[in-house]
């Protein structure tokens, strides 16, 4: 009952966040990063003749609004509804850029300054973060993190599933908490150098908290997951995700997407490995290779397979 209410609340929150970027239509209808040096803007109507670009176009990165990116040229399409801005510095498809057009006249509507934020859609960004964390940059097979737990908990399928689930729970909660801590406490106070110390502390507290709460609230679930909760504190991934989300200046939703993606990737890796190791127990392995050495070789084969994802981008 409570679970259903919780999932409904989560769904409502997600919808609210997706609805947010739908904004009132301005003179610029859409914008996108076309390639490394070009940004295209789609206008609501034809641009009036006589508008010239020098001094009337400004582009900045969202994160650093004080540093203008040099615009080297603006091309107007034949029907005058599309602008292509050429930039001296490279721009990234994943980035967010503020474009300001001055003294423009589009379809008869004049505007002194027209501002537009060029970025990928929220859903597309989140999805690409999830997929990249789960498959393309899989934490176990492409970034080689969390190996202690990976080899420790992948002996049986059942343990693998339990570990994957509790890991996802702790990861998502602590990522949200770390994000808030960093953006509302550490950054305003200029204490960035305390990152490692505070993040480790937060994670340790969170694991302990979950342990205590679960023990009281849901003894059944605790009996299933309790053993793994203690182990999670020594998992590299649980610290790597906060460091990565801080390093990339992710917002809250992007941080949650990264956490969920990494949890899915870790659970997937554990499950795949557990399947292989259950089979290996029945196989005739040379005596010196039994146990960990053969598990390492199998993990190497998986890593080679995951290398195939590396060319992908979203």
């Amino acid at each position: 009952m409570t679970r259903r209410a919780l999932s409904a609340a989560l769904l409502a929150l997600l919808l609210a966040c997706l609805a947010l970027p739908a904004r009132a239509a301005g003179l610029v209808r859409a914008g996108a990063v076309a390639d490394e040096h070009h940004i295209t803007l789609e206008l609501a109507g034809p641009l009036a003749a006589g508008w010239d670009w020098p001094g009337n176009v400004a582009v900045t990165e969202r994160e650093s609004p004080d540093i203008p990116l040099a615009v080297t040229g603006v091309e107007v399409s034949p029907d005058r509804t599309e602008l292509t801005l050429a930039l001296a510095e490279p721009v990234a498809e994943q980035g967010a850029y503020r474009v300001a057009l001055r003294q423009v006249d589009v379809g008869g509507v004049r505007s002194d300054v027209e501002r537009f934020l060029v970025r990928k859609g929220v859903l597309a960004t989140l999805l690409s973060i999830v997929i990249s964390a789960a498959l393309i940059q899989n934490f176990v097979f492409s970034r080689y993190l969390g190996l202690c737990i990976f080899f420790g908990a992948s002996g049986r399928k059942e343990t693998a599933i339990g570990m994957g689930f509790s890991f996802g729970l702790v990861m998502t909660l602590s990522a949200a908490f770390v994000w808030a801590m960093y953006n509302f406490v550490l950054r305003p106070l200029h204490l960035e150098f305390l990152q490692v110390l505070t993040f480790v502390g937060i994670i340790a507290i969170f694991v302990q908290l979950l342990d205590t709460v679960l023990r009281k609230v849901n003894p059944f679930l605790f009996k299933k997951l309790g053993v793994y909760l203690v182990l999670i504190t020594t998992n590299c991934i649980i610290l790597a995700v906060p460091l990565i989300l801080v390093g990339n200046a992710y917002n809250l939703w992007e941080s949650l997407a990264l956490a969920i993606g990494s949890a899915v990737g870790f659970a997937l890796a554990l499950f795949l490995m557990a399947c292989v190791r259950e089979r290996l127990e029945l196989a005739d392995v040379p005596e010196v290779f039994r146990g960990l050495p053969i598990a390492f070789l199998a993990a190497g084969l998986f890593a080679l397979a995951f290398l195939g994802f590396s060319g992908m981008s979203f």
Binding site: Y144, V196, V200, A204, L239, P293, G300
Partner: protein, 207 residues
């Protein structure tokens, strides 16, 4: 003789390097051993950072061992390790910026390396300062030795060089330079260690 076992420097070094080698024997903290060992130099520098953190936190815990309450020892250890990791992180960022860029994430992750906290728990919290220092040296050097051994193996076979110097004029086996080869290298070296140990034990019982 006191009731406590006395440890000498040599015995601790041998223990860390061979008998309880953190990578091949204890199989702890293998993330950097897989990810950062495509060249000897990377392995050496990361090993140096681990050595520093291990020795410093071993000594700190050993000094404070009577003041840390049994119940809160794990958080206390983690805070001590995190402090020394922050020190080495900032030190590396200041003095070796080019190299730091490559391994920044792994240096910060030394905090959660299981080898360090397990040595604090098993050894430093029960022994005086000097043996703890020796133990830290032994374990740190053992870790560094492990990283460099894997690094030698992969760099020589993958690029035909050692520490950036050309040994062979061609690349014998490019596969070993690829990141996933770390798994294979460690698996093979681990099996080699087990094999050598068996041979050694059989030889000793025969005599």
């Amino acid at each position: 003789m006191s009731t406590e076992r006395s440890y000498t420097l040599l015995e601790r070094l041998g223990n860390g390097l061979v008998k309880e080698n953190p990578i091949f024997k204890l199989a702890l903290s293998m993330c950097p051993a897989v990810a950062m060992t495509n060249t000897v130099r990377n392995g050496f520098l990361l090993g140096l950072a681990v050595l520093f953190v291990q020795v410093a936190s071993n000594v700190t815990v050993s000094i404070l061992r009577r003041g840390i309450h049994e119940r809160i020892r794990i958080p206390a250890y983690i805070i001590i390790i995190a402090t020394w990791v922050s020190v080495s992180d900032m030190g590396l960022a200041a003095y070796a910026p080019g190299f730091y860029k490559e391994i920044a994430l792994y240096v910060k992750l030394i905090v959660v390396f299981a080898i360090i906290i397990s040595r604090l728990e098993v050894f430093a919290s029960r022994n005086p300062v000097l043996p703890s220092l020796y133990d830290g040296l032994g374990m740190g050097l053992g870790f560094m030795f492990g990283l460099m051994l894997v690094g030698c193996f992969r760099e020589f076979l993958g690029a035909g060089t050692l520490w950036g110097f050309e040994i062979l004029p061609f690349k014998p086996f490019f596969f070993w330079s690829l990141p996933p080869a770390g798994f294979f290298a460690i698996g093979l070296i681990m099996a080699l260690f087990i094999w050598l140990e068996r041979k050694f034990n059989a030889w000793r019982t025969k005599r």
